[in-house]
């Protein structure tokens, strides 16, 4: 709803007053754009807080039982009431929600029930593990996918194009976790090159874990995610480049005698790199989903595995924290994608009401 406001303000801005004026306005425009995006994100985050809170409140899992665990038999009804009172569970739902929200705003995400530690601490620690994994996969899949898409488009309708297309379509329908299992079977069980799982070797003290150990544990999950991640970028790049190659300016360049790599370098690269980069940023949501599955297969101690654990064992504070965190993560990706478009591509500033 805020986007319309941005659009209206843009159209009222003077556009015909020469380049200087427009240049001056860009800074103002970008900050306005960011402000509106920020506001939009706040409304979305608030809604997600509310919805997930209500969802979890209505779940069949009893928070007291989930907290106390196996000792539940020893807890008398009076003690139960005490606990409920202590946690404010006897208050109306909306009161509970706002007290949770105010705690959230002061940075307190609550205490995880399975780890018995503050949620923010767990997320912070696991985020680094996940970030390394996702970043590796993200860069690898982006670069490889882009190259594949370019090759495929430049060699359109040849055997190499058909192979790449077939490969991408097949990958797009491959279950991530199955790919992970195959990787495990081939590289960990048959060849024995890599360990079967976990983020660090077992039976080694935390201080003794070397970088090489960590890398060795990272390679398989990162490979799984990269192999599957290329499909989207490759197909998208291919389609874009085919469109570019069909344009008049490329026809003219061909008429001048340009071809092959030089043609791509001069006329293709910049036109297709931008959509590809944007697409990669906008794919954070799928990346996170993939990471959840890959981490589960390889028992890699990241955010995804924590999400599954929290869901399976009824750890409400951790699950809520992770939902919020993943939302912010995805939103950051989308914001960067929009920003790149907005800053780099002048056409979107003029016409699109973001």
């Amino acid at each position: 709803m805020y986007m319309d406001m941005v659009g209206r303000q843009q159209t009222t801005l003077p556009t015909g007053n020469g380049v200087n004026n427009v240049r001056k306005n860009i800074g103002v425009k970008i900050s306005k754009f960011l402000l509106m995006k920020g506001l939009r994100m706040l409304t979305l985050l608030f809604a997600i807080c509310l919805i997930s809170f209500l969802l979890i409140k209505n779940s069949p899992i009893d928070p007291i039982q989930a907290y106390v665990g196996a000792d539940m038999i020893k807890v008398s009804p009076e003690q139960r009431e005490k606990i409920a009172e202590y946690w404010g569970l006897d208050q109306p739902v909306m009161v509970q929600f706002f007290s949770w929200l105010s705690a959230l705003l002061s940075g307190d995400l609550g205490t995880s029930m399975i780890f018995r530690r503050p949620v923010s601490e767990i997320i912070g620690e696991r985020f680094w593990n996940s970030l390394v994994l996702m970043l590796t996969a993200w860069i690898l899949s982006g670069v490889i996918g882009f190259v594949m898409g370019v090759v495929s488009a430049m060699k359109k309708d040849t055997w190499i194009d058909r192979i790449i297309k077939w490969y991408c379509y097949t990958l797009a329908s491959t279950p991530t976790f199955w790919m992970g299992l195959l990787m495990l079977i081939v590289f960990a069980v048959w060849l024995g090159w890599f360990p079967i799982g976990l983020g660090v070797p077992t039976g080694v003290l935390a201080e003794d874990v070397t970088l090489a150990d960590r890398l060795q544990h990272l390679i398989l999950p990162a490979m799984t995610l990269s192999i599957l991640g290329v499909a989207n970028v490759a197909l998208h790049t291919r389609q874009k480049l085919i469109d570019v190659l069909a344009s008049d300016y490329v026809l003219f360049a061909r008429a001048r005698g340009e071809r092959g790599f030089l043609l791509f370098w001069r006329h293709g690269l910049r036109n297709v790199a931008l959509p590809a980069i944007t697409l990669q940023f906008a794919a954070f949501s799928e990346l996170f989903g993939g990471a959840v599955l890959a981490e589960q297969v390889f028992s890699y101690p990241g955010l995804g595995q924590a999400t599954v654990e929290a869901g399976l064992r009824g750890d409400v504070p951790l699950l809520l924290g992770l939902v919020l965190f993943s939302t912010i993560f995805v939103f950051a990706g989308n914001l960067i994608a929009d920003m790149i478009y907005y800053v780099v591509d002048p056409r979107t500033r003029e016409s699109r009401t973001i």
């Binding site: 491959t174 993943s326 939302t327």
Partner: protein, 290 residues
């Protein structure tokens, strides 16, 4: 690009023996339907006896008698896989139909019911797109306590946003057409217009959206079940089979994971192909592609 310039006479002669896209699509649909039906019928026909525990035939690698081998309880993996696939397709079908209906209703409402409704629904779409699908699914499955109901509702609620966007754009385009405006001038109610003028134009988009959504729904179902938040472990679902197989991978029983996953991949891929073919047939800018 001017394709006519490049094609030589020789190529044109060869081309006559190829099937064109319509024929190819038809062929793919027939093949896919046969696969689908055989799996569904197979899942219903195969008797439970074949997956009964048979401790004499434990951990057998694939052979002619047991095409996909047997597991640690001597159950035939082929039978389990087929049953799992037919279960997955059932769940996927319900989920995809539900999701398509939500997309249709919200897309139509958003495009016809005025500005406020449109803003609200656009915001709702953004809301659902801003949380990773899998996390939403985990959250919903958790809330509903897992099981069949949880997973189906979760799948329905997570797959509609992108299709709703497509339908919204489509409805807006149709709404500005002359015949719709004339109909409005003639005093037809908006419900009448929606049913008689707009809906028939949406059917192809809906069909494609459904076909392209279906494989994703199946994959997500398998993923959530694999994570342990979906169908109960007693059901012979593909996700369950694969998550159970993880325990036996280190002892080299690769067939437990390989074949069920491969079958899932084939099913999903077939649907995806049909959807893509349909889309290319209908989209005028891409209809000439090979």
């Amino acid at each position: 690009m001017i394709p006519g310039l490049k094609i030589g006479t020789k190529e044109e002669k060869v081309k006559r023996f190829y099937l064109n896209r319509r024929q190819k699509t038809l062929l793919t649909i027939v093949v896919a339907t046969i696969i689908l039906l055989s799996v569904v019928v197979g899942g219903a026909m195969l008797d439970q006896e074949r997956i009964a525990t048979n401790l004499n035939e434990r951990n057998l690698p694939p052979s002619l008698k047991h095409l996909f081998g047997t597991d640690w309880l001597g159950r035939d993996m082929f039978t389990r896989t087929i049953m799992g696939l037919s279960l997955s397709m059932g769940v996927g079908l319900i989920g995809a139909i539900g999701s398509t209906s939500i997309a249709l209703v919200l897309g139509m409402v958003s495009a016809t019911m005025g500005k406020m409704a449109d803003r609200l629904i656009t915001w709702l779409i953004d809301l659902f797109l801003s949380v990773p699908h899998l996390v939403t699914l985990i959250l919903i499955a958790f809330t509903l306590g897992g099981g069949f109901k949880g997973i189906v509702i979760g799948l329905m609620l997570t797959h509609w946003p992108s299709l709703a966007r497509v339908i919204r754009a489509e409805v807006m385009q149709i709404r500005s057409a002359e015949y719709v405006q004339i109909s409005q001038q003639m005093g037809k109610s908006s419900w009448w217009i929606a049913v008689h003028h707009i809906f028939p134009h949406l059917i192809p988009q809906l069909l494609i959206g459904f076909m392209l959504m279906f494989p994703h729904v199946i994959l997500h179902e398998a993923a959530v079940t694999f994570l342990g938040l979906g169908l109960s472990p007693h059901e012979p679902a593909i996700g369950i089979i694969l998550s159970e197989s993880m325990k036996y991978l280190s002892s080299g029983m690769w067939w437990l994971a390989f074949f069920p996953g491969l079958c899932l991949l084939i099913i999903v891929r077939t649907f995806e192909t049909i959807g893509e073919n349909f889309r290319m047939l209908i989209d005028p800018t891409r209809a000439n592609e090979k």
